[in-house]
């Protein structure tokens, strides 16, 4: 349900004043209706506005490097999405095998490092110690004190991902490995062997992380099943044969009941199917499926959508884990918001398997790096970033400068879903009209499941700076709580 679906009466809308936003904080406003029930939750995110403007007028070959400034946690995803878009501009309809595989390797390295960071550093403290536990303990240091081996593995898994990125992109951050039409480097056999030696452990540890999430589900079934859960459409890329593919594919969307809403949609056609709604209180737009309209057409992206949208995962251990996940609790884990964590770990395992497979491929050491063809003026690059579908869309002028650009980032696709998740949690855990630390913690856990790239999510590992505001039906603030 979106706000425009709500009856007008009794619900007050407030537009936030840009000055009142808390820099570096996620800000949440809860709106009560006349009966004192949480009617709506709004997550206000400080988004990188103006970036589109910043890119306009710049030469297209600079953009894949420049867009990495968009996000401190998944710069590689932006780098690759932009490169994919400009492949079309330089007429490279097919990359060379070396280029395609180098980019895939880079991307799955990013997936591994991002998922490991999220699970071990950010999510596992909540899950292991309880949502209400002492905030000072809810970080990787706290995990290391109690589960030293788990923390160590988390760090090593992330490190493998970072090493893959460094070797394929040239640097861990602000790499330049992908260029329009291909890549600018290959991997030596020695480098491949060096990385490859680290993969078997990574696969085992990722498998164990899945086991850990499963055991947490088993131990807390009623809570995990329900927590922040609501039915949602899901959207992701899948390969033409229905397999999970995080680097490239066709757009598929399904309803909560599993009906197909979109299938086999070419990425370049996304704008015929996905529209964005602007709401006065939010800087971040609300995308929706055109066919269903803004009220019913919102959807969820990210690991949970991908794992449940594909027909199979093309690597053996991750596929076995997917089946187990889908069957668990009669399919309820795969619908639960906390199922995100489980799905994320399945993807982490898949990423480790793909990395291992790619590293054995001699194409990575090939020397044909670039492809090209007839120039075009438009490029759309879509990729499954760690947090979900990421769309880069550019138009380039005859003078090679970018004329127009439109980006839809993962967190934006999840905008409505995050608001609903917060509302669910608020309804369940709010205590009358008082805002408590406990409520704040629960809201934080719900937001975290989506792994949003809020600026604040990158600031403090373990603790999200969050400001909470409660408005009653006539719009007056009846409660405030803030944690830095």
């Amino acid at each position: 349900m979106t706000e425009s679906a709500l009856p007008e009466g009794g619900l007050r809308r407030v537009a936030i004043d840009p000055l009142s936003r808390v820099e570096g904080h996620g800000k949440v406003t809860l709106l009560l209706d006349e009966a004192g029930i949480v009617r709506q939750a709004r997550l206000h995110i400080v988004e990188f506005r103006g970036f589109e403007k910043f890119i306009q007028g710049r030469p297209y070959w600079e953009v894949p490097v420049m867009v990495q400034r968009l996000c401190g946690i998944c710069p590689v995803s932006h780098h690759l999405a932009a490169s994919k878009a400009f492949d079309q501009v330089v007429g490279a309809t097919r990359l060379t095998p070396t280029a395609e595989k180098m980019r895939r390797l880079m991307h799955y390295g990013q997936m591994l490092q991002s998922h490991a960071l999220h699970f071990f550093h950010l999510a596992s403290p909540d899950l292991l110690f309880g949502f209400d536990s002492d905030a000072g303990r809810r970080n990787i240091v706290g995990v290391a004190a109690v589960h030293p081996e788990l923390a160590r593995r988390g760090i090593l898994l992330r490190k493998l991902g970072q090493e893959v990125i460094r070797m394929t992109a040239g640097k861990r951050i602000h790499g330049t490995g992908a260029v329009p039409g291909g890549v600018n480097r290959n991997l030596s056999r020695a480098d491949r062997a060096e990385l490859g030696a680290l993969v078997p452990d990574a696969i085992d540890w990722a498998g164990e992380a899945i086991g850990l999430v499963r055991s947490l589900f088993e131990a807390n079934l009623p809570l995990y099943r329900e927590f922040a859960t609501f039915p949602a459409n899901r959207l992701s890329l899948v390969r033409a044969d229905g397999a999970m593919d995080l680097y490239d594919g066709l757009i598929r969307a399904r309803s909560p009941q599993g009906e197909t809403l979109l299938d086999d949609v070419e990425c370049g056609e996304y704008w015929n199917y996905i529209l964005e709604e602007v709401r006065p209180w939010s800087y971040m737009k609300f995308p929706y499926l055109k066919a269903l309209g803004p009220e019913r057409g919102w959807y969820r992206v990210g690991p949970l959508s991908r794992v449940t949208n594909c027909d199979f995962i093309p690597s053996p251990r991750a596929e076995a884990a997917r089946r187990e996940f889908l069957a668990f609790d009669d399919g309820r884990a795969a619908r639960a918001t906390l199922g995100f964590h489980w799905a994320r770990m399945i993807e982490m395992l898949h990423a480790a398997e793909v990395i291992g497979e790619l590293l054995e491929d001699d194409d990575l050491s090939g020397t044909e790096l670039l492809a090209g063809g007839p120039r075009t003026a438009r490029g759309v690059g879509v990729i499954e970033a760690p947090r979900g579908t990421l769309i880069h869309h550019y138009r380039v002028g005859e003078d090679d400068m970018v004329v127009r650009c439109n980006l839809i980032v993962s967190t934006t696709h999840n905008n409505e879903s995050m608001n609903l998740a917060i509302r669910e949690v608020a309804r369940r855990f709010i205590d009358g009209r008082t805002l408590t630390e406990g409520l704040l913690n629960h809201i934080e856990v719900a937001i975290r499941a989506f792994d949003p790239c809020l600026s604040c999510a990158t600031h403090a590992l373990g603790q999200m700076p969050l400001a909470l505001e409660l408005l009653d039906a006539d719009g007056s603030v009846v409660g405030r709580l803030r944690r830095d």
Binding site: G57, P59, E62, V90, G170, D399
Partner: protein, 236 residues
């Protein structure tokens, strides 16, 4: 004498040229061995007989006492580089000249790690009118190398500097002031000489990986000595 050791020279050589030919490095930016010295960046400043002068324009003479590698002069040069950074928009991580840029290389050679000055963030439009080249005026350090190359080698007079002080800027020889309307060609020497990322060929970008570029391999001081013309019979 340079920093206490004798340096041979030939008539007509400047202090900087004599030093480089003798394998002695003095930092510089607007000097290029193939062109007439210009003396604008002042990075080559050294103490000559107790006075601070630009060594790229000071003739070498017998008995000159030159001090270059002093802590004070290092500070002066560092400050000059910081000022150049602050005057333009130099964002190295997404600049395609990174690793081939002399300003960046001087910065790292001299240990420039902080901004030092408030950045001016000028808003200068870029010129992409030429089919094979583009100019990002945000990165121009006004060294006049392109002006000299176009005048002296290409014989075209495509570039010139106009204005004074903070408003000084590069212009091109066309009523529209657009590079595409000049006689400039990608094969011109002026295409090659820009020490920073201001005049660049189109569609090259990051084809050569960062890490395998000119100053990634060897610092600018070593490169400059390699490039210095030497009298016959002397090798580096």
């Amino acid at each position: 004498m340079l920093d206490g050791a004798p340096v041979p020279f030939e008539p007509g050589q400047t202090v900087l040229q004599a030093a480089l030919a003798a394998d002695r490095y003095i930092p510089h930016l607007c000097y290029h061995p193939e062109f007439r010295p210009h003396g604008s960046c002042k990075l080559c400043t050294a103490s000559v007989g107790g006075r601070l002068v630009a060594t790229c324009t000071t003739p070498a003479e017998a008995g000159l006492v030159v001090d270059s590698e002093t802590p004070q002069l290092r500070d002066v040069r560092r400050t000059l580089v910081q000022m150049l950074f602050a005057e333009g928009n130099h964002f190295c991580p997404s600049c395609e000249k990174s690793g081939n840029c002399q300003l960046q290389a001087q910065g790292s050679d001299l240990g420039v790690t902080t901004a030092g000055f408030r950045h001016l963030y000028p808003d200068r439009p870029i010129d992409a009118s030429h089919p094979d080249a583009w100019i990002d005026f945000n990165r121009c350090v006004l060294c006049e190398l392109c002006v000299r190359a176009s005048d002296e080698v290409d014989g075209k007079h495509v570039f010139a500097l106009a204005g004074r002080g903070l408003t000084k800027h590069l212009i091109v020889n066309a009523p529209s002031n657009r590079l595409g309307d000049t006689t400039f060609a990608a094969s011109d020497e002026a295409m090659q000489v820009c020490p920073v990322g201001a005049i660049l060929p189109k569609r090259v970008g990051f084809a050569v990986p960062i890490g395998s570029r000119r100053y990634d391999q060897r610092p600018v001081s070593a490169q400059a000595l390699d490039d210095a013309p030497r009298p016959a019979g002397r090798s580096p």
